[in-house]
Symmetry: C2
Subunit: 391 residues, 2 copies
C-alpha cells in the first residue's frame, strides 16, 4: 500500500468549498449555516437517508418540497449495488440520483458491523459477506476512501469500527482507538488519491467513537481534534442499543470538548424527542431511516404523538394525520384515505406517510432553529406515545 | 323494487352539466372538448385507471403534471374496499382521493365477469364472491347505480354483461340484449334515486356490447341511441381476447352508426398503436391499466418501442428512457438509474416508470389531437416491439 499509517503527522487535508458559521446560540444549542459545494444547509438539519441512492418511496423533488436540504446515502449498499464505478461513470451520486443538493455518504462501517456473523475485523480492515449474494468483500480505510470518492458526495465519513451500545470499556476502547488509526489512514488515502488525480470537492468527517464511556469519548475527541481542521465531526456509535440517558450523556460530554465552531453530526438519530434533546446539547446535523421506514410501515409522527394509520379507529376519520402540519400529505388527504391505501396495499400509502414523516422532522428542526435565532423556547415534541383517537 | 324494467318508455335523464363539442375532424377522427362538472377534457383523451381510488404508484399532482385530465376508478373494487358509504361520507371520490378533475367510474361489469367461477348471472343481476374475502355479493343494475351515485364520479357507466372476445353470436347476443335491458333499469334506478334526493351531477353512459359480431354491434347501437340523449357512449367488450383486427373492425362498424356528436369511449384500450387506430375510427376517450401495470413491471413505452428497464444492456446507459419525451422521469433520470431502482427493488422505480408511461400516452393522444386540429398526419407509434439497445 505504501502508506505509513502510523506516521506521526498525517496530511492536513483542506476542503476549501465547505464553510460553517454559527448565527446564534441558546445555551449549547446553535443555529448555523453550512455552505457546501452543492448549496447551503441551514442547521440544525435533519438528513433523510437514501440507502441505495434513493430516499425510499420519495422523489427528489418531493424531498426538496418536504424541507430536506441535504441527504445521506450508504457507501456499503451502493458498493454492492450498483457499484461505485457505475455511479462514477454516470457522473457521481448527485447526477445519478437526480439530487442537486448536498449529499453525505457514510462509510459502510455501521452496516459492516451490523452484519454480525458475516464479518471478521483485523487491524487492516473488515472482511465480510455481501448480504445480497454472500460474496466475500473487504473494506479498509483506503478502499472506503476510494469508494466514497467515486460516489462523489460533498461529505464523506471516515471508515470506523462500530461496537454495540452495551460494549464494555475494553471493547469500546479497542474500537475507538482503531477508528482513530483508521482515520489517519483515511487522511493518507485521500491525500494520495488527490495527488494522483483531482476529484470532486469533498470534506472528510472523522467519527468520534467510545461507546457510552465518557473517558473514551473525551480521549477520542481530543485525538481527532488534533488530527485535522475538520469541516465537521461525526458522533458515532450511539442509537445502537444504549439507553437514551446514556446517549444524551455522551452528547453532553462531547459538547464540552469538541471545537465549538465545527458542525457536529449525530449519526443515526432521528426520533423527534432525540433531535431536540441533542440540539439542546449542541448537535447540528442528524440522519435516520426512521421517518421513511416508519412511513412504509404505516406509522406517522404527529404533534399529538404517533399515529398507526392502519388502526380501525381512523376508518372514517376526515382529519389529516396532523392538523398542525403543512405537508403535501396533510394538505390533501384524510386519515381515512391513507388508512384505505394501507389496507388496500397501495403504494401511495407509504409514499404519503414517508413524505409526511420527513416533513415532520425537517419542520421540527426548522422550528428549533427559529427558536434559537429568536431566543425562544425549543419545541417539545411528544415522546413515542400513540396519538389518542378522535373524541 | 316497484320498477317495471320492461316499460316501453324509460325515463329520459338529462345531465345538464356535461357538454361536448367537436372542434375539428380528419376523416372519422375528431378533436373535441368535453366539459364536465369538474373541468374540461380535451379529446381524444386517455384516462389512467385508479382501481382502488388511487392510480397505482402516482400522486394526483404528478398525474396532473403527466397530462392526465380525467381518470377512472373501479366501482367493484371501491365497493369491496373501502365501501361506497365510506367514500360518500368523506365527500365522494373527488375529495376522498384528492383528485379535483373529472372522474369516471366503471360499473363493475367487467370485473364481475372476470371472476370466472366466482359468479352466476341471471336476468336480475350477478351473484359473485369477493376476490378479497370470498364473501357473497350481488350486483344488479339498481344496486350499481346506487353504488356509483355514492361514489359521485362525473361519468357513471351502466351495469353491463361482458362476454369474452371469442364468444359465439348466440352468447354475445344474449349478453348484449341483457345489457340493453339492464341499461333501461339503470335509467329507472337513477330516476328513482334522483327523485328521492338530489345527488351529485352525473352522466350515465350506456355501453355497446355485441362481441365481434357487426350485426349485434349495430343492433345494440341503434337500441341504445333510441333510449336516451346520452352525454357519451361506451364501447365495451373489446380488448378482451379478440384479435386486433376484430377490435378495429367493430370500432369501424360503430363509427358508422353511433351519433356523431356524442363522445365515444372505447373501454379498456390503451396500447399506443390501438389508441391511434381507434382515434382514426372516431373514438374520443380511452382508459387502460397498461401504463401503470407495465410501469410497475419494468416496461416503458417509448418512441422507439418498448423498453424493459431490467435488461442488462441498460446497466450503464446514461440516456433517458425516451430521448423525445418531456416527462418528469425522462427530464431527470437515466436508464441506468431506473434499472438500478428496479434491480434494488426500490419503490421509486415503479413510480418513475408509471409516470413516464402515463405521460407517454397522454402526450400521444395530445399529439393526435394537435394533428387533427392542424389537418396533419396522425402520429404512428411503433407496435409492441422491443427498443433496440444503444449502438
Amino acid at each position: 500500500m505504501g502508506v505509513n499509517a502510523s506516521a506521526a503527522t498525517p496530511p492536513r487535508l483542506s476542503f476549501p468549498p465547505m464553510h460553517f458559521e454559527i448565527l446564534a446560540t441558546a445555551g449549547s444549542a446553535r443555529a448555523g449555516r453550512l455552505t457546501t459545494p452543492h448549496g447551503v444547509v441551514e442547521t440544525p438539519a435533519f438528513m433523510p437517508v437514501g440507502t441505495q441512492g434513493t430516499v425510499k418511496a420519495l422523489d427528489p423533488a418531493e424531498l426538496r418540497n418536504a424541507g430536506a436540504q441535504m441527504i445521506l446515502a450508504n457507501a456499503y449498499h451502493l458498493h454492492l449495488r450498483p457499484g461505485e464505478d457505475l455511479v462514477h461513470e454516470l457522473g457521481g451520486l448527485h447526477a445519478f440520483m437526480g439530487w442537486d443538493g448536498p449529499i453525505l455518504t457514510d462509510s459502510g462501517g455501521f452496516q459492516v458491523f451490523s452484519l454480525e456473523t458475516l464479518r471478521t475485523v483485523d487491524e487492516d480492515g473488515v472482511e465480510f459477506r455481501s448480504h445480497i449474494d454472500g460474496s466475500r468483500r473487504r473494506f479498509t480505510p483506503e478502499s472506503v476512501m476510494k469508494l466514497e470518492r467515486l460516489l462523489g458526495a460533498d461529505v464523506i465519513m471516515q471508515f470506523d469500527h462500530v461496537v454495540p451500545g452495551q460494549a464494555s470499556m475494553a471493547v469500546a476502547r479497542d474500537a475507538s482507538e482503531r477508528s482513530i488509526r483508521w482515520l489517519v489512514r483515511c487522511q493518507w488515502a485521500l491525500a494520495e488519491l488527490g495527488a494522483r488525480e483531482p476529484g470532486p470537492p469533498q470534506s472528510l468527517f472523522p467519527i468520534v467513537q467510545g461507546g457510552v464511556h465518557a473517558e473514551l469519548r473525551r480521549d477520542a475527541a481530543a485525538a481527532i481534534t488534533a488530527l485535522g481542521d475538520w469541516d465537521g465531526i461525526g458522533i458515532g456509535g450511539l442509537s445502537v442499543g444504549e439507553s437514551k440517558a446514556d446517549m444524551y450523556r455522551m452528547v453532553e460530554v462531547l459538547d464540552d470538548v469538541l471545537p465549538t465552531e465545527t458542525p457536529r453530526y449525530l449519526m443515526g438519530v432521528g426520533f423527534p424527542e432525540d433531535l431536540i434533546a441533542a440540539i439542546r446539547r449542541g448537535v447540528d446535523l442528524f440522519d435516520c431511516v426512521a421517518p421513511t421506514r416508519m412511513g412504509r410501515n404505516g406509522t406517522a409522527f404527529t404533534s399529538a404523538g404517533r399515529v398507526n394509520v392502519r388502526r380501525a379507529i381512523w376508518r372514517a376519520d376526515p382529519r389529516p394525520l396532523d392538523e398542525r402540519c403543512a405537508c403535501a400529505t396533510c394538505a390533501r388527504f384524510s386519515r381515512a384515505y391513507i388508512r384505505h391505501l394501507f389496507v388496500a396495499d397501495e403504494m401511495l400509502g407509504p409514499r404519503l406517510l414517508s413524505l409526511h414523516n420527513v416533513h415532520f422532522l425537517t419542520a421540527l428542526v426548522r422550528d428549533a432553529r427559529a427558536a434559537i435565532l429568536a431566543g425562544a423556547a425549543l419545541p417539545e415534541p411528544l415522546a413515542a406515545v400513540d396519538a389518542a383517537p378522535a373524541v
